[in-house]
């Protein structure tokens, strides 16, 4: 007796444009195929602030926090690309946040001035703080970054500078929520695409090389400390921006700016979304932050559910959600008849 069966077959789409170096886009269909997912993300994000009547204040705020965490996650991912594993993204956040508070309290500057100023000055400050420990690798660097935000927090408490435990309140706000949303969404998009682009240049190649094999980079005549410092500066920018931004959103800055949340949430976002892709960092934040908001309804169970979710995803999809989706998008399945099977 002869039986016929079918099986599923997965194929990679044979599109040249997918390869890293050769951009040979053959037709408008392939162009569309590549641009569509990016365009969809950009358009829906930019449309979000327009839906304020539908979504209400609550979800607008969730979006705002999500984008802030996404910025910190992008910052984490860039640091990781040079081999620096940060357990203390709150450092960037806190420095940016306090600088904005300080500048606006001391000089009475408008937020439109304090935000860019504290983004750049804060990133410089963070680079200076981390410079001495840049030669540390792996967990040693991680531990120092973990300790620094705690140190900052306690220092402010002990010395009572910058408002001490009270913090600085009554700071000037940004124009309105729509403006805020557009500002932070644009920042996240520029950062995500910009970082991706940066890592594809020869400069980015050098950064990746430092992560993989610093001996050969040194023997290639490149000063590793200097390049790591540059990477820290670039990576700190979205972090300090996020801090300065939220300071003016809340019109307040206090010790919670150095809180553990701002270190852990970005880190877990990248782990869930997939490291090294930048899009993964954003995706992770867009899953985790709203999830943790929704879970507030569950009271104490929130942490249990949240953590289970984390564990399931890290074990089930160690490559990260983004890489998984990317792979699926570039593959298509078809059903093919099996060779004749004799039963």
């Amino acid at each position: 007796m002869v039986k016929r069966g079918y099986r599923k077959e997965r194929l990679d789409r044979g599109i040249k444009a997918r390869s890293d170096d050769i951009f040979a886009i053959a037709s408008w269909r392939e162009t569309l195929y590549l641009i569509l997912p990016r365009a969809a993300v950009i358009v829906s994000l930019l449309a979000f602030p327009l839906l304020k009547d539908v979504l209400g204040h609550y979800w607008q705020n969730v979006m705002l926090i999500t984008c802030t965490i996404a910025l910190l996650a992008l910052s984490w991912d860039l640091l990781a690309s040079v081999g620096l594993v940060s357990l203390g993204q709150a450092l960037f956040f806190g420095v940016g946040a306090y600088l904005a508070g300080f500048l606006s309290r001391t000089f009475g500057w408008t937020p439109l001035l304090t935000i860019p100023a504290s983004t750049v000055a804060g990133a410089l400050l963070c680079t200076a703080i981390l410079f001495p420990v840049l030669r540390l690798r792996g967990i040693y660097f991680g531990l120092i970054t973990f300790a620094l935000p705690l140190l900052m927090m306690r220092m402010i408490e002990a010395t009572k500078i910058l408002g001490g435990t009270e913090g600085l309140s009554g700071l000037p706000p940004l124009p309105d929520i729509t403006f805020e949303l557009y500002l932070v969404i644009t920042a996240a998009l520029v950062c995500a695409f910009g970082f991706k682009r940066l890592m594809d240049t020869d400069y980015g190649l050098v950064l990746r090389a430092i992560r993989d094999n610093d001996r050969s980079v040194l023997a290639s005549g490149i000063n590793i400390q200097w390049y790591k410092a540059q990477a820290v500066f670039i990576a700190a920018l979205p972090g300090t921006f996020a801090g300065a931004f939220l300071t003016h959103h809340y019109q307040f800055v206090g010790m919670p700016a150095f809180a553990l949340d701002f270190s852990i949430l970005p880190l877990t976002s990248v782990v869930i979304g997939g490291a090294g892709t930048f899009a993964g960092a954003v995706l992770g934040a867009f899953i985790l932050v709203p999830l943790s908001e929704v879970l507030r309804a569950f009271g104490t169970l929130r942490v249990v559910i949240y953590c289970s979710f984390l564990i399931i995803f890290t074990i089930g999809l160690p490559e990260g959600i983004f890489r998984f989706i990317e792979r699926k998008y570039h593959q298509f399945e078809r059903v093919v008849p099996l060779e004749e099977v004799r039963a």
Binding site: L205, A209, N213, R215, L218, A219, S220, G221, I222, I224
Partner: protein, 255 residues
């Protein structure tokens, strides 16, 4: 009257724990010369190179480059001055395409300065360099990830990295090890070209004496970290201590 030697090493010493890896070694080399460094396993050849190129800091002694004290400079500075080295134990950027491995040194301040500001198409230069060290022109090999290369080709990639830096002094640590006889034979004309035509000073550490002696005019011999002989290949192989240190086969093969 000649000018300063391009490289002068004075009484260099380095201890690791209780071991004198390099002990009181001195030598000098003029621009365009070739030097072989030989000695049994563990005699301090690689350490001597590490001391010169800044990968290891000496306990005592001095290194001069064109008369300038460069003792204990950082490896990237050494490259900027024009001293390029290969490693005995190759470690390319495994996950990158082979030619992308060369984009890193091509991005270095030294190369960018020599090329005067903007340095256009590094990819093209990289592929050209690979051809020069013996990667076939039309093959797909340069586009594969470096981790998949056979060992002999990783060695060639190391050499290509050195050459990409347009060095004045090229230091090759056991380039020939892991290469077949015919592979080595194909490298010899290239090494000669680097030295004679391009005028680069060449230092080679080798165990393959016969092939080494076809390239270098001068040899120093290390044993237990100490320099025990110096001279032309023929001269050093006459020295009793050298013959004893090598004890047999390799001397026979080389002499």
């Amino acid at each position: 009257m000649r000018t300063d030697p391009i490289l002068r090493v004075c009484n260099l010493s380095k201890r690791f724990g209780g071991v004198n890896a390099v002990y009181d070694v001195s030598f000098y080399l003029y621009e365009g010369e070739t030097l072989g460094i030989i000695g049994p396993n563990g005699s301090g050849k690689s350490t001597l190179i590490n001391l010169i190129t800044g990968f290891v800091k000496p306990d005592s002694g001095k290194v001069y480059f064109r008369g300038r004290d460069i003792t204990g400079i950082t490896p990237d500075k050494a490259v900027s001055l024009g001293i390029a080295r290969s490693f005995q134990l190759v470690r390319p950027f495994y996950n990158m395409a082979v030619y992308k491995n060369l984009v890193i040194p091509l991005y270095s301040p030294r190369v960018r300065k020599l090329k005067g500001g903007k340095y256009g198409d590094r990819d093209e230069v990289a592929i050209h360099l690979l051809e020069e060290v013996g990667f076939e022109r039309d093959s797909q090999v340069p586009f594969k990830t470096a981790g998949t290369l056979p060992h002999g080709y990783m060695k060639r990639l190391e050499l290509a990295r050195c050459l990409s830096l347009q060095p004045e002094v090229v230091i090759l640590d056991e380039l020939f090890s892991g290469m077949s006889m015919s592979e080595i034979a194909s490298m010899l004309p290239l090494l000669e070209k680097i030295n004679r035509e391009e005028g680069r000073t060449l230092i080679m550490v080798e165990h393959r004496l016969r092939e080494l002696f076809r390239v270098v005019g001068k040899v120093i011999v290390l044993n237990f970290g100490m320099k025990i002989a110096e001279g032309t290949p023929a001269e050093v192989m006459e020295v009793e201590e050298v013959r004893k240190a090598y004890l047999g086969s390799e001397v026979e093969a080389g002499a």
